[in-house]
Amino acid sequence: MMRRIERWVGDIPLVVALSVMTAFGISMIYSAGVLETPSVITQGAWMRQLVWFGIALSAFAVVSRIPIRWFEWAALPSYVVSVLLLMATLLVGTGAGTAAGVESFLDLGFISFQPAEVAKIATILMLARYLGGHPSEPTSLRSLLAPAVIVGVPMGLVVLQPDLGSALAFMGILFAVLFWAGAPPWLLLLLATPGLGLILSFSTKIWSVYILLLVGYLYVARYRLFLVESATIVLANLAAGTIAQPLWNSLAPYQQNRILVFLDPNVDPRGAGYQIIQSLVAIGSGGFSGKGFTRGSQKQLDFLPEQHTDFIFSVIGEELGFLGSMLTLALFAFVLSRVVRMAQRPEDPFAGLVIFGIFGLWLVHIFINIGMTVGLVPVTGIPLPFVSYGGTFLLMSWVAAAIAVRLAQDDL
C-alpha cells in the first residue's frame, strides 16, 4: 500500500509537508483578506489560490510521471523559450496586483503569468545539463564562465524589469548548482567577490582595505589560480568599485530607498521605511502566542502592505506569534533538508544538480522573504514558496517539487 502511494507521489513526507504548507498558506491568505474595510484585492484571493492549488497538484501528478531523460532533453528548449519570454516581458510586460510597479507579468489574454518563475526552473535544468554533461568538475575560475553566462542572461533580463528579488534567486541557483557540481568553496567565494566589492565601495577606506586583502589572498593562493584568473578577479573587483556609483544612480529611487531604509527604517518612516516598520510592529506585537487567527489588528486595519503576497509572514507572525513563526520555520527547514537528501540520492549527476538547484532557489526565496519581514534583509519583492498568494509562483513551486521528486526516484 505504502509502496503504491510512494510510487504515486514519489516522496511522501515532502509532498505532505508541501501540501500542509500550501493549505496553511491558503488559510493565511484568507486571514489576510479579513479586513475592517474589505478590499477587492485580498477578499477572494484565498479561493483563487485554492483553485491554483488544484491546478498545481494536477501539474505535480503529470510532471512527476515524465521520464527522467525528457527533462534533460527539454532543458535547452525550455531555457531558450524562457529567455525569449523574459525579453518579451521587457517589451510588452505588465504590472499586476500589488507588484504593479514591476512589469514582470506577461499577459496572454486568457492568462497572465510571470516568465521569471518559469525561467528559474528552466535555468536550473540548463545549468544542470551543462555541468552534468561536462567531463570535469568546475574547479577553475575559467570553468565557471559558461555557468555564469547561462545564469547571467536570464538574471540580467530580470534585473532590467527591474526585479531584484528574482535576480537574487538566480544567484542562489548558480551558487547552489556550482557547489553541488563540486566547485570548491574558496572559488565560489572569489566568484562572489565582485558583488562584495560593489557593496563595500560605499566607503573608499573600507573598499581599499578590502582590495588589499583580496590581492593578498590571491598572492597566497597563487598556485591554485592562473595569473589571468587572478588578474580577472582583481579587475572585476576594481570594475565593481568603479561602477558602484553609476549603478547606484541607475537604480530607481524606490530601490535606493529600500536599501537606505534597510540600514535605518526611520530614515523614511512614512515612505520606504513604512513597510519594514509596520511589518516589524505586526510581528513584534504578535508576541509569543499571537493575536489569534484572523485577529491581527495591524493586518485588519490595513497597516500591512502586500499582506497576502510578499508580506504574508507578517500576518503569520502577528496572528500566530513566535510559536507560529517557529513552527513555520521548522516546516521550511524540514522541506529544505528533505530536498537536500533527495539530491543526495540519485547516481545521475544531472538529477542531483537539478534537485540541489531547486534547493538553492527555495533557500534564497525563504531567507529573503522571511528575512525582509523582520528587517534582516532589505525589502526586495520576492514571494514565499507555497505560502504567498500568486498563481504562477505556486504552480512553478509545485512543478519544481514534482521535478525534484521525479528525479530523486532515479529509476530512469
Binding site: E36, T37, L131, G132, G133, H134, P135, S136, E137, F179, W180, A181, G182, Q278, L280, V281, A282, I283, G284, S285, G286, G287, F288, S297, Q298, Q300, L301, D302, F303, L304, G317, G321, F322, S325, M326, L329, A330, F332, A333, L336, S337, V340, R341, A343, Q344, E347, D348, P349, G352, F356, F359, L363, I366, F367, I370, G371, V374, G375, L376
Partner: protein, 616 residues
C-alpha cells in the same frame, strides 16, 4: 561529469545542512528578538497605530445673572458625520439622511464637494433632536453615519444680552500664537472654540475647562473604523467654571424691549453698592446664538456690512461728547478742590453771556439765568456759571483732576474691548493734537463738557456712581462678588454731594426740563440731560441722560446712563429710557407689578391719571 561518489554527496549534503541551520537559525534568532524580547515595545506601537486620540470638548461653564437666571449654558448638540467611503457610497448615505436632516439638494451637492479621502464628512453641525433620536434608533440602517455629542452654547438672553456676554468662534492662528492662548497654554489648539468678545472673552480661561481625550480605532489610512464611534474615553475632561454676573437678565430684556428699534445707542445701569453692572445694553444688537455652530456667511456679512454697526459695543467702545452731563463732573471737581461752596454764587450773574479775554461767550439762554447757586446752575445748565467755575478750577487743575478720575483711561470694567475716554492729560495735548499751546481759556469749553472730551456711556456712569455713593467710585464690574476696591475718589462732603444731587433733582423735579419725561409713580429719578452736537449730523445731536434713582428721599439704588445717537433732545429721548430702566429695576426689587406705562408722559399719553405728578 562523471558520477560523483556517494561519500562526496554526503559531505556536500552536510555542508548544505549547515547552510540550512545557519539560515533558519538566523531567522529564528531574529524572530526571538522581535517577538519575545521586544514584543512589549511593538505592542505599544501597534496600539498607538490603531488608536487615534480625539479631543472630547469640555462643556463650557454656565453664566448666571444676579438672580440665578441662566444667561448662557450648554445643551447637548449632535453633529452628524458621514464616514469616509467612495463618493457613491457617501452620496447614498447623504440621500438616506436627506429627509431626516432636512438637507436641501443644493446642500447635498455642496457636501459632495467637501468629501475628503480619510476624514469623516461633517454633514450637520447641530442636528434636530428628533432626527438624532431617529438615527440612533435606526443605527443599523445608517451604517455610514456617526453621531458625535458635543455640548453647544445656548444664550437665553439672545439679542438682549449679546454685547455683555459676547460670543464664541473658532480660535484663529493669530490667537494661537498670542501670549494669551499661545504655547504656554497647552490646552488651546486648532479647531477649539474660544470667546471672542464680552464675558465669553473676558473669562475665557475660567469658562473653557479642559478638554478630554478619547481614542478612536483607525486603519492605516486614518479612517475611523469604530462601528459606533464611541471610542474609549480615557479622560472625560473638566467642565469649565461657572460665572456669576451682576447683570440682571430681566432688566436687560426689559431694556431691549423699550429701546426704540431703529435707534442706536446704549444704556448702562450700575449698582451704587459696589459698582456692579446691572445692565449693559448696546443698540442695535445681534443674536449670539447665530454664532453657535459657526455663523453662516450671509449673517456674518450682514452684521459686518451694516452701517449701524450692530457688533459695536457702544457702552464701552462708543465715545461721545458728554455735553452737559459733564457739567456735573466739573462741579464735582470744583467741590473736590474746594474752589466753590455749594451755596456760593458766582461773581457774575448770567445775563445771557460772559466776556472773557475780550470774547463774548454766550449762554444757551439769551435772557440769562440771573445769579444761581450750584444746584440751580446744574438744574438750569447755565453756561455762564460753569465758565466761571472752570476759571476757578483752572486749566491745569482741571486736566490733572480729570485725568485722575480717569476721563482719559479705561474705567476698569471686566470687558475686553473697552476704549479709554478722550480728555487732555496736560497742556501738551493741544500741542500734539492741534499744534498750539493752550491758553487758560480752554478751561471754559472743558467745564461745559465741550472741547477735546469724548466719553463712553460706561465711563459717565462710573462718574455718576461716585455721586450716588460717597464720592468714591469702584470700577464697574460684570462679575459678581469680585470687587477690586475703589478706582478713584472725589473728596466731597455729604453737603456737597447733596448739593450736586439737588441740582440733578431739580432737572427732573416739577418744573425741571426732564420732569414730564421721567417722573415716576413710586420712585424718584434724578439726573442730567445732555445734547451733544456731532459732526456727522449737525441737526440731530446725540441725546444723553445720566442720573440715578431710588425710593423718594432715600439713597440712590441704581445709577443709569442712556444715550441715543442722533436722538435730539436729552430730556425727551434719553431721559425717559433711563427712567423706565430704573423704574423696572426698582419695581422688581420692591415687588411692585411691572407696568409698561411708567413715566408721567406715558400716563398722560395713555390717558391715565397721575395725581402724584406735578401738573404741567
Amino acid at each position: 561529469m562523471k558520477v560523483t561518489h556517494p561519500h562526496r554527496r554526503s559531505e556536500q549534503s552536510h555542508g548544505a545542512h549547515v547552510v540550512i541551520a545557519v539560515v533558519i537559525g538566523l531567522l529564528a534568532l531574529q524572530f526571538f528578538r522581535v517577538q519575545v524580547l521586544r514584543s512589549e515595545n511593538y505592542k505599544l506601537q501597534s496600539e498607538s497605530n490603531r488608536l487615534r486620540p480625539v479631543a472630547v470638548p469640555a462643556p463650557r461653564g454656565t453664566v448666571f445673572d444676579r438672580n440665578g437666571r441662566i444667561i448662557a449654558d450648554n445643551v447637548p448638540g449632535y453633529a452628524v458625520y458621514a464616514l469616509p467611503a467612495p463618493p457613491d457610497t457617501v452620496r447614498a448615505t447623504l440621500d438616506r439622511l436627506q429627509p431626516h436632516l432636512g438637507l436641501s439638494d443644493s446642500r447635498v451637492e455642496f457636501l459632495m464637494t467637501r468629501i475628503q479621502r480619510h476624514k469623516p464628512l461633517l454633514v450637520e453641525v447641530d442636528a434636530e433632536m428628533s432626527a438624532v433620536a431617529y438615527l440612533q434608533e435606526h443605527r443599523t440602517e445608517f451604517r455610514g453615519v456617526y453621531l458625535e455629542m458635543r455640548p453647544k452654547r445656548r444664550y437665553h438672553g439672545a439679542d438682549a444680552v449679546s454685547h455683555a456676554i459676547g460670543y464664541l468662534s473658532e480660535i484663529t492662528a493669530e490667537e494661537l500664537s498670542s501670549d494669551r492662548f499661545g504655547l504656554a497654554k497647552q490646552e488651546y489648539e486648532q479647531g477649539m472654540l474660544v470667546g471672542k468678545t464680552g464675558i465669553e472673552r473676558q473669562y475665557e480661561e475660567r469658562l473653557q475647562g479642559h478638554q478630554g481625550v478619547r481614542y478612536l480605532e483607525v486603519d492605516a489610512s486614518g479612517r475611523i473604523v469604530d462601528s459606533d464611534f464611541a471610542g474609549r474615553v480615557t479622560d472625560a475632561g473638566t467642565p469649565g467654571e461657572d460665572v456669576h454676573l451682576n447683570l440682571d437678565l430681566d432688566l436687560q430684556e426689559w431694556i431691549h424691549s423699550i429701546f426704540p428699534d431703529s435707534a442706536r445707542g446704549a444704556i448702562v445701569a450700575l449698582d451704587p453698592a459696589d459698582g456692579g453692572i446691572l445692565a449693559l445694553y448696546s443698540a442695535p444688537t445681534y443674536d449670539p446664538n447665530d454664532f453657535v455652530g459657526g455663523i453662516d456667511q450671509d449673517t456674518w456679512s450682514a452684521l459686518t456690512a451694516d452701517v449701524r454697526k450692530p457688533l459695536l459695543n457702544r457702552t464701552v467702545m462708543g465715545r461721545y461728547a458728554p455735553a452737559s452731563t459733564w457739567k456735573v463732573a466739573a462741579a464735582g471737581i470744583a467741590l473736590d478742590l474746594g474752589v466753590v461752596a455749594p451755596d456760593e454764587h458766582m461773581d457774575e450773574p448770567c445775563t445771557g453771556g460772559l466776556f472773557y479775554n475780550g470774547v463774548y461767550r454766550k449762554c444757551w439762554k439769551a435772557d440769562g439765568h440771573g445769579s444761581l447757586d450750584l444746584s440751580d446752575a446744574i438744574a438750569q445748565s447755565c453756561n455762564v456759571y460753569f465758565y466761571q467755575l472752570g476759571l476757578r478750577i483752572g486749566l491745569d487743575n482741571m486736566l490733572r483732576r480729570g485725568t485722575e478720575i480717569g476721563f482719559n483711561s479705561e474705567c476698569g470694567v471686566d470687558l475686553p474691548q473697552e476704549l479709554p475716554g478722550i480728555f487732555p492729560a496736560s497742556r501738551q495735548y493741544w500741542v500734539d493734537q492741534f499744534g498750539y499751546r493752550p491758553l487758560e481759556g480752554e478751561v471754559l469749553s472743558l467745564a461745559l463738557g465741550q472741547g477735546p472730551n469724548d466719553q463712553t456711556p460706561l465711563k459717565m456712569a462710573q462718574f455718576y456712581l461716585a455721586l450716588a455713593r460717597d464720592g468714591s467710585a469702584p470700577p464697574p464690574r460684570l462679575i459678581r462678588g469680585e470687587t477690586t476696591g475703589e478706582a478713584w475718589r472725589l473728596d466731597l462732603s455729604q453737603e456737597a454731594i447733596e448739593a450736586l444731587r439737588e441740582g440733578l433733582r431739580r432737572v427732573t423735579a416739577p418744573g425741571g426740563t426732564a420732569h414730564f419725561g421721567t417722573a415716576l409713580e413710586h420712585f424718584e429719578i434724578i439726573g442730567k440731560t445732555g445734547t451733544a452736537q456731532n459732526s456727522q449730523d449737525p441737526d440731530r445731536p446725540h441725546a444723553w441722560f445720566a442720573g440715578m434713582a431710588g425710593r423718594r428721599g432715600e439713597a440712590p439704588e441704581i445709577v443709569v446712563v442712556a444715550i441715543v445717537e442722533f436722538g435730539g433732545s436729552g430730556s425727551q429721548v434719553a431721559a425717559p429710557l433711563a427712567a423706565k430702566t430704573a423704574d423696572f429695576y426698582l419695581r422688581k426689587k420692591y415687588g411692585i407689578p411691572i407696568d409698561s406705562i411708567q413715566t408721567y408722559a406715558e400716563h398722560v399719553r395713555a390717558g391715565r391719571p397721575a395725581p402724584w405728578a406735578f401738573p404741567r
